[in-house]
Assembly symmetry: C2
Homo-oligomer: 290 residues x 2
């Protein structure tokens, strides 16, 4: 599919994509660049890279496809650093969970004739690093592409085919709309999970021990989400600030209404709310998302 | 273990306990009472009951052990209704997620010589009803007993053995302390999950469809919790009001601090918080709770 691919970043997503490319022989050569030599050595040891370099411009030289697999906050600088190496006609994509910021921060550094096809494979685990990847990570999940208007159709087609080879269902969407939808489905749930687990870390130590002991009663599910990569998530909240603060505002209003209902013994309000939420679960199950 | 057991309520927990009793022959006779004839017929059809009746007093007649398996808000009335049938020396237990309220509401109706051993098997699924039960539900999970001071030791021992037979690890705890710990580990997580899913139910319908479609990015995990039984959870929040409002207050403060950090681009605050929460996950995994 590609003569030469450059992966800038080789964490959970980057290394999983490299494994797919190896498995399906999608790339003649995989060049990997990363912030640390340790990650590069690990990528080589795992057989995920044909060449490694700390210099993004060297990694992207002659690449048909460049995929930024770094935290969102690092992508602007990465784009600037790789720019001198980009060949005309190259496709640049990424895997970030916020898309409008990527189009702005990365797009501004790309020369004419290089095609930006921003992507978000909606898949992940709470583990990080090159060892955490596996090729089945993407299977049956959604990948959302948010190419700006007038993006080269052939470039969009190739990125689509790559994620389909990884087993993903590909959807094209406007970047701002993506950021709003994901703020609800992903960013808010993560923020809330981080917050509730953070609340537990402030408890007296004997109480904290009991919370861990009896965590299977609900708390446990939040700890898994709240174990996600801190750098990645710090960037998501900062780079999708507006949408996150908007949905957080709605959530806080609704939670405050429930709090008020509990304090005032408004049992019907509670019962009606908990009945409505059950219907959503049925929709999720019917949509084969659970 | 018991000549005659009465189960008052035959939903997820009651029917799972009945299945354990059948599997291990723990009871010579299982009498089931329920609010509806339909549940009783289902219990008989599933082979979970030797006798069924709508009258709690008839169900508990001659029973060595009575287990209230009803929503917490129904337990006081149930205790009052069953009182005429209780035999001297009977053990009365329950499976509710709030314990101080049970001791008060149920305890006041019990004659002298009847032993109250409140219990909370910390296990469940998002499904309800007699068909939803299965005997392995309790395996490897915690059961917390909160007998008031001076409770008959033999009665505590028998209830302990019953839950151990179901595969549970039994822990004895003060009722108020139980209610505080569970408010953190279970009641707050459920309230938050209900709230975030309720927020989604208010979205415009096209947006709601997309939220369901991309729910695997975090939202999905909350929908499972928010599909739990509405009656049961309404009662938990109303009967553990004080502890729930207390931990909810702490949570809201912490969430507001994160909101402030996002708005002000305080990236170190976010990074530090998300790093601390990761450590809690490790503790949960080490405690073999995940």
């Amino acid at each position: 599919m590609f003569n030469r691919v450059a992966l800038l970043g080789i964490g959970l997503i980057g290394s999983s994509l490299a494994r797919v490319m190896r498995r399906d022989s999608l790339a003649g050569h995989i060049a990997v660049s990363s912030r640390t030599q340790a990650s590069l050595d690990k990528a080589m040891e795992l057989g995920l890279a044909d060449s490694i370099t700390l210099d993004p411009a060297k990694a992207v030289a002659n690449a048909d496809l460049v995929v930024l697999c770094a935290p969102i906050g690092a992508c602007g600088e990465l784009a600037k650093a790789m720019k001198p190496g980009l060949k005309p006609g190259a496709i640049v994509s990424d895997v970030g969970s916020v898309k409008a910021a990527i189009i702005h921060d990365v797009g501004q550094h790309l020369p004419n004739g290089v095609h930006l096809v921003p992507g978000h494979p909606v898949a992940g685990t709470e583990h990080s690093g090159p060892e955490a990847g596996f090729p089945e990570l993407f299977k049956g999940r959604w990948c959302i592409l948010t190419p700006p208007p007038q993006t080269n159709e052939a470039a969009i087609g190739l990125v689509t085919q790559m994620w389909q080879a990884a087993g993903m269902n590909v959807e094209i969407m406007d970047a701002a709309h993506h950021d709003h939808v994901l703020a609800i489905t992903s960013h808010l749930p993560h923020l809330i999970a981080y917050s509730i687990v953070a609340t537990a870390t402030d408890l007296e130590s004997h109480l904290q021990k009991e919370v861990i002991k009896f965590s299977a009663s609900g708390f446990r599910d939040f700890t898994r989400i709240a174990a996600s990569d801190p750098t990645m998530w710090r960037d998501i909240f900062l780079y999708n600030k507006e949408a996150v603060l908007d949905v957080l505002g709605r959530f806080t209003e609704d939670l405050t209404a429930l709090q008020r209902a509990i304090r005032r013994d408004e049992s019907n309000t509670l019962f009606d709310t908990f009945t409505r939420t059950r219907a959503i679960r049925r929709s999720v199950v019917e949509a084969k998302q659970a």
